[in-house]
């Protein structure tokens, strides 16, 4: 594991935090959009397993993680003070696929990894194409923590909130469905499992590809333990930490994921 120093760890909403970790430049030079890091809060054995986080952005000698407090691991991370030393392992997993004609669809904290992709395009760090459109949904306007950033992106952004406090009232998959009725584009998506499942069905219906960034509890992140499997329709399993986290939707057996 590498050493890092927490420069900031700020709440952006009631349960979403932005973490900045300073480390050696040559380590973060190898970070690609869609990959993740495993963060260990020093000397802690409860929670025992370092949690994985998508790389949210990379600037100068720091990387950023945008995370939602959902359990013991993220709660512990939210209490880490600036100036603290942490350890991390990464980059882990495969980068986002390089798509040409596609849209992004993000639900809630699922937006985190796409910011690095969009920043990479803007700052010409990695050679990704700009998405034709970005669909970004959350429960409420307050949960759209990355909205201010998206205002600067040179592509159209459509918002949906479940309570209707901003944009379309309802799930983000509805505006996506309407768009796909008229546009044949692939979809790159990350968000809650029901959203990803719905996108897999929508993509199949319109005959386009969907690439979904999946999530599951994982321990090693290195392919060592074989614990983080996702069932595929062909009856095999994929090890999410090394073969993912972004998978082709049509291959995933959602019925076997409980």
């Amino acid at each position: 594991m590498y050493q890092g120093e927490v420069i900031k760890n700020l709440p952006l909403s009631h349960n979403v935090y932005l973490l900045r970790v300073k480390t050696d430049l040559d380590i973060i030079f190898s970070f690609n959009p869609g990959q993740f890091v495993k963060i260990k809060i020093n000397e802690r054995i409860d929670p025992l397993i370092p949690r994985p986080f998508t790389i949210h952005d990379v600037k100068k000698n720091s990387f950023y993680v945008l995370y939602q407090v959902v359990g013991k691991g993220t709660k512990a991370l939210s209490l880490v003070q600036p100036g603290s030393k942490i350890e991390f392992l990464g980059p882990l997993g495969k980068p986002f696929p390089k798509l040409e004609n596609y849209v992004i669809c993000a639900g809630g904290i699922g937006i985190a990894g796409f910011i690095y992709l969009l920043e990479s395009i803007k700052r010409k760090i990695h050679t990704y194409e700009l998405p034709k459109k970005i669909f970004y949904g959350a429960r409420t306007a307050e949960d759209l923590v990355c909205y201010p950033f998206l205002e600067d992106i040179e592509t159209e952004v459509e918002i949906a909130t479940e309570d209707g406090s901003q944009g379309y009232k309802g799930l983000i998959t509805e505006p996506l469905r309407k768009y796909l009725e008229k546009n044949k584009v692939d979809v790159l998506a990350c968000g809650p499992l029901p959203m990803l499942k719905a996108i897999a069905q929508i993509a199949q219906h319109f005959g386009v590809k969907a690439y979904l960034t999946m999530e599951t509890f994982l321990s090693c992140g290195t392919g060592f333990c074989k614990g983080c499997v996702i069932p595929l329709k062909n009856g095999n399993y994929v090890h999410l930490c090394i073969e993912g986290p972004t998978l082709l939707a049509e291959e995933i057996d959602f019925d076997a994921i409980s």
């Binding site: 409860d46 025992l48 321990s219 090693c220 392919g223 074989k226 399993y237």
Partner: protein
Amino acid sequence: MPFLKLRNLELKTPLMLASGTWGLGENLDLYLTKEEIKSNIGAFVSKGISRLPKKGNPPPRLYETPCGLINSIGLENPGLEVFKRDYLPKLFCYGVPLIINLHGEEVEDFVALVEGFKEENVDGIELNISCPNVKKGGIAFSSDPKGVKTLVKEVRKVWEKFLAVKLSPVGPVYEIAEICEKEGVDALVVANTYPALGVIDLAPLKVIKGGLSGPAIKPLTLRLVYELAQKVKLPIIGSGGILSGKDALEYLVCGAKAFQIGVANLIDPTSPVKIIQEMEEIKKKHGLFG
């Protein structure tokens, strides 16, 4: 000078990588240099190998507990032939002694597996006796001292090199340890994970059944090592919740001759280096082990 010699097996350090905690070795050199591997890891214990490929259990396969991890991987492995063809050659390149962990559903499976490795340049065999014996109605070998006796006897007929038995921490542990000693086993690995259960959902009830590992089990396994070391003369390889050099030393002072790390390697793939380094520092400070 080796740190420890057990029959043909020569360990440069007391640290062994436990079965199933470093994959099939294909990614190890992404995290450690060849030199770090060679100078810190005394021996590799391969992922459990079966005669035929096993795709493993459906998810969820993992469940975290306070200071512990329950796993239910289901012995996923590519099977004997693919392992020998695709993975063994790379493992030999590291210059670290290699012990093959084997599991089977009946004695014949183990014997066939051992024979499959006879012509290979591997250094030893570790028998996983926590698996069910199909011929005895699915009761685990580790619950059946007579079954273990037959198993070890049959394996010894075809395998002359280093042979270890990985004990389950539950069942007639002492009786099985004594049988292993009588039947010519070279070392006992103490111990496998503890049968455990995690509640995933309260209602409707959804559980995961698997093996508990990690610091949560360390005091339990330490006790077992301590007691067993008084009862049998066989060298004991301690395994259970070692995360630091201090943890490793605790096993050694309680009677283990070497130790295996598991969860530590899942948390941090560079932990072999850190554990050996820390252990050496503490040994020096306290003048332990000469």
